[in-house]
């Protein structure tokens, strides 16, 4: 019986010790999970941050834009007032199509940057990865609210960039446009959040 007593007390002690990590790891109050729209806006902000870092790290001070990219999503028709009256499904569909278009442009930029051994390549790769993640998140959200998928526009990309300077200039132009697109997209996602809740 003494052996039994000894072993049972040891077992009790071990059990108590074993509970410690369980208590420390498990949060007793469940955290409010971010909604899908939160994820979309957070991921957009993340992309915007990456874009700004790339622009800062590879500063290319130029007020003259070469207009190399003719097929970037049109931003001239998007005003601040539009953000107050966005419709859920068309906006999600449009943003998805726009992101797909940017994805093509950045993949092209990545290819030419690799060719010219541009130091921004690792970050560009990261950016494309994050962009794909945002596109997937957005696509999932579109399926959920039954938003149609638009036919992606065909990108018209510059045929050949002979010099490193052209790559720098193209990269700058693309990043500048994408930064503003992300700014608008982020505002669109946070504006649409209440509408998604109403649909679901």
């Amino acid at each position: 019986p003494a052996v039994l007593l000894d072993s049972s007390s040891s077992l009790l002690f071990s059990l108590l010790l074993a509970q410690l990590p369980v208590f420390t790891s498990a949060s007793p109050v469940p955290q409010r999970r971010p909604s899908d729209m939160d994820k979309l806006s957070n991921q957009t902000k993340n992309l915007m941050k990456l874009t700004q870092e790339l622009l800062r790290e590879h500063a290319f001070d130029s007020d003259v834009e070469p207009h190399r990219f003719r097929s970037l999503p049109e931003m001239s028709n998007r005003s601040a007032n539009d953000l107050n009256n966005l419709e859920l499904k068309p906006t999600l569909s449009q943003l998805h199509a726009d992101l797909k278009l940017y994805e093509h442009h950045f993949e092209w930029l990545n290819k030419v940057s690799k060719k010219h051994h541009h130091p921004a390549v690792p970050k560009l790769v990261e950016m494309i990865r994050e962009m794909k993640s945002l596109i997937n998140l957005l696509h999932r959200q579109m399926l959920r609210v039954e938003a149609p998928r638009l036919t992606p526009a065909t990108p018209s990309l510059p045929p050949h960039l002979p010099y490193q300077f052209d790559v720098l200039q193209s990269s700058h132009e693309l990043l500048q446009h994408f930064k503003l697109f992300c700014d608008w997209a982020y505002r669109a996602f946070i504006s649409l959040k209440p509408k998604v809740t109403a649909v679901q």
Binding site: D6, R78, D183
Partner: protein, 402 residues
């Protein structure tokens, strides 16, 4: 009919027609000025004596005086003013040798327009105001025309307020990389167009927060509560969040402490008890990190709560702006010099979770320690029991006959 012809109106019309149809009779019988001539300062200005081709000697007067600035008179009676200055401005009249007025003209001197110095303010995403200053003082009346466009877009008018020297654009296509403003200044001596290119998203600068209010928290000698409103020019919609920076310091200190928040009010937890504090707030667009901070709000003075305090009348705050009693529980986490979490509800939940975790951990410790004591006690008892048994057996062994 003869009656009609002799009427004063008809006579006047006939006189006017006969006068206007005979321009060669350019003699001016009245003292009127026939027009204004503009000339460049510090250059030579020629004033013709009307359209008269008579090669008769003429006499020129400036403002009815025969004293003229540095000049010469040409053979056809024209007056050439040499290297004119401001004093050469006035009404010039030429007379024939009989003293009859032939021609009279007003001379104004100045410069053609130069390039403008233009700056634009962007207090929100729907409005741009551009102001200008002349780099050249022309001394002459001017007309302005301003247009604005985004990259590759059509020009749209920038609505002018010439007296205040600014123009406004409402609802620009904000999310464009570069915008261009062109202003054309035109005066009698010429015209000049100035172009400026800028990035609206970098110029975005909200107005300072409004109705900023700081107050003591009763019962808390190291706390202050600060509230504010969005600037009235900022759109109050989900799409345009602002981040606010609150800075405070005891009066006399040179070091500011800072808090960042997206929501009003905030509680300052580390005020210096018994000291008057300075508090200010400014705002910036929360999404666009390249935009600018607003100017600071006016300095507020506030003292934390004290037990036996007789408030200084200068620091007393308007009674209608008192906080309701339920105000305090919001946003009470100290955030000195750190960016605030964007989700205060989640933050509060995690704080509560931490507290519960700590309580549970204490319970575990409280269970473990007595359990350990119990185990030790049981083991000790067993050991005592074993020793007693050994002693008994030894005694038994000793008492046994060998």
């Amino acid at each position: 009919m003869p009656g009609l012809l002799s009427s004063p109106v008809c006579l006047t019309v006939i006189w006017f027609l006969s006068w206007s149809l005979h321009p060669s009779c350019a003699q001016i019988w009245t003292d009127e000025v026939s027009g204004t001539q503009y000339g460049h300062l510090e250059s030579n200005v020629t004033l013709a004596c009307g359209k008269s081709q008579f090669r008769i000697p003429v006499v020129w007067h400036l403002n009815h005086s025969s004293a003229l600035p540095w000049h010469k008179v040409t053979s056809d009676g024209a007056l050439v003013l040499l290297h004119v200055g401001h004093s050469a401005q006035g009404i010039y009249s030429c007379y024939d040798n009989r003293g009859l007025l032939l021609h009279s003209i007003k001379l104004r001197l100045g410069h053609p327009p130069g390039l403008l110095s233009i700056s634009c303010q962007v207090p929100n995403h729907t409005h741009v105001r551009c102001s200008w200053l002349e780099s050249v003082k022309t001394f002459l009346p001017a007309q302005y025309n301003a247009s604005f466009r985004g990259n590759g877009q059509e020009w749209m008018p920038c609505v002018m307020d010439v007296t205040r020297k600014h123009c406004d654009v409402d609802h620009p296509a904000f999310w464009q990389t570069i915008h261009t403003l062109r202003i054309t200044e035109t005066n009698a001596l010429g015209s000049e167009t100035t172009y400026v290119r800028f990035k609206l998203h970098e110029l975005l600068k909200p107005n300072p927060p409004e109705s900023v209010f700081a107050k003591e928290l009763e019962g808390y000698p190291k706390r202050l509560i600060v509230s504010w409103n969005f600037p009235s020019s900022w759109p109050l919609t989900e799409a345009f969040p602002l981040v606010f920076q609150i800075r405070y310091r005891p009066q006399g200190s040179i070091y500011w402490s800072e808090i960042y928040s997206e929501e009003s009010p905030v509680v300052i937890f580390d005020a210096l008890a018994g000291h008057l504090h300075q508090v200010q707030i400014r705002a910036r667009d929360e999404v666009n990190a390249e935009s600018q901070w607003s100017e600071w709000s006016p300095l507020l003075l506030v003292r934390p709560w004290e037990v036996y305090t007789t408030p200084d009348p200068a620091e007393q705050l308007p009674p209608d702006e008192r906080f309701p009693d339920y105000f305090f529980p919001f946003n009470t986490k100290p955030e000195t010099s750190t960016a605030k979490s964007h989700n205060p509800v989640l933050e509060d939940e995690s704080n509560l979770g931490l507290v519960i975790l700590l309580v549970l951990f204490s319970v575990v410790i409280l269970i473990t320690v007595p359990s350990l004591i119990y185990v030790m006690w049981v083991r000790q008892r067993r050991r005592d029991h074993v020793t007693k048994q050994e002693l008994t057996s030894m005694v038994k062994m000793k008492s046994m006959p060998i």
